[in-house]
């Protein structure tokens, strides 16, 4: 077990380093010199060559690429992610201002999404009703095909414009005003939750189906257990593993999902910060956000893999043998 954990952690660190190199290279490919935006933005007109050179020096852009990379990574290890080329605020400050809105949205939509998918899959497995199953597969197909902006727009029209029940724009900090904060988060969270629940339900349904034909399920039913008991005690625990993998992927790519949802509901979070920094070619901010997304993905798959070791003894043994 110990060597399995060590190996997985080492692989994750290696992945993180490779991602950081790739992101760094990608950012340097971007045409459109950020220093021109910065100098022209400050003085309001064309930049002089000398001013440009001064800014390039100040930002360290006149150094060699490996030197720039080492400088960047060295800063990150000290908790310094550089400064925005545009607003000149430290990137950490911009991110900490915005991360609350994204975290609230991510946590709520994950909870709602799981609460939608898991009970639905369990009911479908216990009830075995064709009409209900057809309804669920229609939901997953439509849920997976509906872009978040369409869901969001429909919810805004129904609950904001027509019924005038809930706020549709902006963000209130949860520490400032918990109730208002939750109210503004309801519609965005439901929008993202549908995008989360659909693939989760699909995979959960498929793996419940797979496990249902296992001999031990027939044995459990044959010894006279109620369908409910068979599903809850034998079927569900064994069917959760593929669903957990999917959940890891979903958590890892949440930052992508929040981009559109935050934009639709005008929430000042990390997703809208991504869009802003692409518009402004602010690649100090952009590279940090992309690195954050990569780290989220790598850490969530690490966490899920380690969780497997805890819940599934077979994987634990096989994992440590492979590590040897």
């Amino acid at each position: 077990m110990g060597s399995y954990v060590l190996k997985r952690v080492a692989v994750s660190i290696a992945l993180l380093i490779i991602s950081s190199i790739l992101i760094f290279c990608l950012m340097r490919v971007i045409p459109g010199d950020p220093t021109i935006t910065k100098v022209a933005g400050a003085s309001g007109n064309a930049a002089s060559v000398r001013a440009l050179r001064a800014v390039r020096h100040e930002l360290g852009l006149d150094q060699s690429l490996p030197a720039q990379y080492v400088h960047w990574v060295g800063g990150i290890l000290r908790g310094d992610f550089g400064e925005s080329y545009y607003s000149q605020f430290p990137v950490t400050k911009l991110i900490s201002q915005r991360i609350g809105a994204t975290l609230e949205l991510a946590v709520l939509s994950l909870i709602i999404g799981v609460l939608m998918a898991v009970p639905a899959a369990v009911i479908s497995a216990i009830w075995r009703n064709r009409a209900f199953d057809a309804l669920l597969s229609a939901f997953t197909a439509i849920g997976m095909a509906t872009p978040a902006f369409v869901t969001g727009i429909v919810l805004i029209v129904v609950f904001g414009v027509k019924l005038n029940l809930l706020p549709t724009q902006g963000y209130v900090s949860i520490t400032h005003h918990p109730i208002e904060s939750l109210k503004t988060a309801v519609l965005p969270s439901i929008t993202l939750a549908i995008a989360i629940a659909a693939p989760l339900l699909r995979i959960l349904d498929a793996s419940l189906d797979d496990v249902a034909s296992a001999p031990y399920i027939r044995t459990a039913a044959g010894k006279g257990l109620l369908r409910r008991q068979v599903v809850m005690r034998h079927l569900l625990p064994n069917a959760t593993i593929p669903a957990l993998t999917m959940l890891g992927v979903i958590i890892g790519s949440l930052l992508g999902g929040t981009v559109i949802v935050e934009y639709v509901f005008a929430r000042p979070g990390l997703g809208t910060l991504v869009v802003d920094s692409v518009f402004k070619r602010d690649y100090a901010v952009l590279q940090t956000l992309v690195l954050l997304a990569a780290a989220t993905f790598i850490l969530s798959s690490l966490a899920i893999d380690l969780l497997y070791g805890v819940i599934d003894p077979r994987l634990r043994v096989r994992g440590s043998e492979a590590a040897r």
């Binding site: 992945l15 490779i18 991602s19 790739l22 990608l26 490919v29 971007i30 045409p31 197909a141 439509i142 997976m144 095909a145 509906t146 872009p147 978040a148 902006f149 369409v150 727009i153 429909v154 805004i156 029209v157 904001g160 414009v161 890892g252 790519s253 949440l254 930052l255 992508g256 999902g257 981009v259 559109i260 934009y263 639709v264 991504v274 869009v275 692409v278 518009f279 070619r281 690649y283 952009l286 956000l289 992309v290 997304a293 990569a294 993905f297 790598i298 798959s301």
Partner: protein, 291 residues
Amino acid sequence: MTSVAASLDVVVSPRRRAEGLVRLLRRPAAAVSFVVVSALVFGSVAAPLVAPYPKNQFDVNHLFGPPTLAHPFGTDELGRDLLTRVLYGGRTSLEIAALATALAMAVGAVWGFTAAFHRGWLDELLMRIADLTLGMPVILLGLVLVAAFGSSTKSIILILGILFTPATARLARSSLLAELETDYYLAAVSVGAPPWRIILKELLPNTTPVLLARASIVAADAIFVEASLSFVGLGVQPPAASWGTLLERGYSVLYSSYWYPIFPGIVILVAVLALNTLGDNLQRVLDPARR
């Protein structure tokens, strides 16, 4: 020699291929999706013929008009008919999706086939690269690539092509690896058929159906992501208009004329749903285990 190799062709015959199509269309969901996709393609290609109004007919008396019999989808900020704009927008959206899909399929297939043929270090390297990009959220990577390549129509096609290539490469690799295990492949090799012949006449036709199913899903994803990029203003740029840009324009007047973004939104949803369903059903028809 040639005749022996020729007689060994285990290529799916045209008749069996037609049977496959019949089996696909016998599934109600697949048949409906097929009709929907055909209708969308026809409506876009034949937009000048079927659109109720000329492309840029302004009407200052009907700005932001609600849906009526004359304008089923309403009118836009210049009084143009939105149904007409959706039909023409489909040209942009579908053209981008089709070209991006073709790009992703072609590059992905070469990438995956190369990996499968050269097991060993090249395979390892190619697949690790694919894994790395697969880990990133698609929209986020798309936005970064927009920052890198800009958002002209050509760039968007390139960007979408890049986004969907790694997953296609994975599939191409695994489907080719499965073919390399078969007896007909072994037979073709043992009678001394030249490699190009084995690839073009034996392996490619037998992996094509799987890749076609994948292409349908890639096209759906391409429409989805193009619309997402255009929606945040970083996709197709005016004066060109795709479904996504119509939605973006509509979103800005959501609170006064909510029907404006709804219709392009529904069209995007229907297109993605139909292409996904078609791809899913094709996979099921092809996969004997799930038939």
